[in-house]
């Protein structure tokens, strides 16, 4: 899971003037031709920096994202759901592993990245700062948060950096089971008892605002990212991604007879979705650490890292050396 552009802040492009103009032009021409950049290719510093930041944030979102659903593994109702949820959350941790490796090809080690996550220097998807109160919240994530992530990931898989694209190809293949599983769970809640229906309706009410935040601030107020679009680091604007998500999933939610808590939500004649503008102040507050679960999520990670330190030390004996992945 993950929201693509949502943790993007503005970028400084002044360093670009210091790049070799011939190499830069060649680099841009290659991307324009649809070629992929590999770790050993020449690339501008800004490209490297932004990619590390993006892939790293994506990786963090996968491990932090494993937490809100992970707490339901031991409580999943029945064998079938239990097996699926275990496999699904395991996949998410696997996605983190894959993505950290992809980011490592750019020269930052997994340990440094995890340190930055714990120090709060590096962000992760905002949506995982909200709590999962009931089984239905967990189902909401499996279905709709993963759906949102897939919208982003499918787009990013067409980006310009080879290792990231390859990682995303594999991730998207696994996501298709997550999405189906999540939808299956929600169909059962929808067609189940009144209690089950109500459980999901309440989850939908709780999760809709963070879901709208998931794709990041609206294009009107978000930082300009033209250079990142040109370099195929960012593959679509936040609003485009959000619209695509709404187009695919609002009808499926309505089909199940649930009410989306936004009276202004509708598709206009030009095929674009209209909705109440999400509360971007709340978004900012949560992303800067003041959400319902930020502290808890990071604390879990911090404790896990601290408790695992002796294990990682013991793995380095006999002395092993850090080697960057190749592709």
């Amino acid at each position: 899971m993950y929201g693509g552009g949502n943790t993007f802040e503005g970028i400084k492009t002044d360093g670009l003037a210091l790049e070799d103009p011939v190499k830069l032009a060649e680099f841009e021409a290659r991307i324009a031709r649809g070629e992929k950049i590999e770790p050993t290719d020449w690339m501008p510093q800004l490209y490297r920096k932004q990619l590390i930041r993006m892939i790293e944030q994506h990786a963090h979102s996968e491990i932090i994202g494993a937490l809100p659903e992970g707490t339901w593994i031991t409580r999943a109702p029945g064998f079938k759901r239990k097996m699926s949820l275990m496999a699904k959350v395991q996949d998410e941790v696997g996605h983190a592993q894959l993505l950290y490796s992809a980011a490592e090809t750019l020269g930052k080690s997994r340990e440094q990245m995890i340190d930055d996550l714990i120090n709060g220097k590096s962000k992760y998807s905002n949506i995982f700062n909200y709590p999962t109160f009931t089984w239905a919240d967990c189902c909401f994530i499996s279905w709709l948060v993963d759906a949102g992530a897939i919208v982003n990931q499918l787009a990013n898989a067409k980006g310009s950096y080879g290792p990231y694209c390859r990682a995303l190809d594999r991730i998207c293949a696994e996501e298709s089971f997550h999405l189906k599983y999540g939808h299956h769970c929600v169909i059962y809640l929808a067609s189940g008892t009144a209690t089950q229906r109500q459980m999901f309706q309440e989850a939908l009410n709780r999760w809709w605002p963070p879901m709208m935040h998931f794709f990041g601030p609206s294009d009107k107020i978000s930082a300009h990212t033209e250079v990142l679009m040109r370099w195929k680091v960012k593959m679509g604007t936040n609003d485009e991604m959000r619209n695509q998500f709404l187009d695919m999933y609002v009808p499926k939610i309505w089909e199940l007879g649930f009410t989306i808590p936004d009276p202004n939500l509708k598709k206009n004649e030009s095929g674009k979705w209209e909705y109440t503008e999400p509360d971007w102040e709340e978004f900012k507050r949560v992303i800067n650490g003041d959400g319902p679960c930020n502290k808890e999520r990071l604390e879990v990670r911090r404790v896990a890292e601290a408790r695992g330190k002796w294990v990682r030390e013991a793995l380095k004996t006999p002395k092993t050396e850090y080697v960057t992945p190749l592709a």
Partner: protein, 127 residues
């Protein structure tokens, strides 16, 4: 396997074949096998194409050029000494026998269509 064991050719683009940048070498000394991998499409993964006998990785590249350079553009070549690779033993294949049974890992195991249809019909029949 350690990535340092991978001997990597120059990376090319467009219509340039990586093999064109590999010079022929012949080296004395005892030979061992190297596994050869090709990158045939930018953005995809390297694929194993076969193995060669050589004394050094450089010579393995040069041998690969003789044997596997079919004229098709290859963007990158890897040569890895076979002994550096840990191969799966036939005994270990047992580890994966139950994999096909783990249907819950497959999207096709989640058919909600009937349940959904039944639900929609039930809803429609209500006023």
């Amino acid at each position: 396997m350690d990535t340092r064991e991978v001997f990597v050719s120059p990376l090319t683009e467009g219509a340039n074949n990586a093999y064109d940048l590999i010079s022929s070498t012949d080296e004395p000394g005892p030979k061992k096998t190297f596994e050869i991998y090709h990158l045939v499409k930018r953005g995809k993964q390297h694929v194993h194409v076969g193995s060669v006998l050589a004394a050094t990785p450089q010579q393995a590249m040069s041998e690969a050029k003789k044997q596997f350079n079919s004229g098709k553009v290859i963007y990158n070549v890897w040569a890895i000494a076979s002994e550096a690779i840990r191969f799966t033993t036939s005994e270990e294949k047992e580890l994966w026998v139950t994999l096909p049974d783990k249907k819950f890992r497959d999207a096709s195991d989640y058919k909600g269509g009937d349940k959904l249809k039944e639900f929609l019909e039930r809803n429609q029949s209500q006023p």
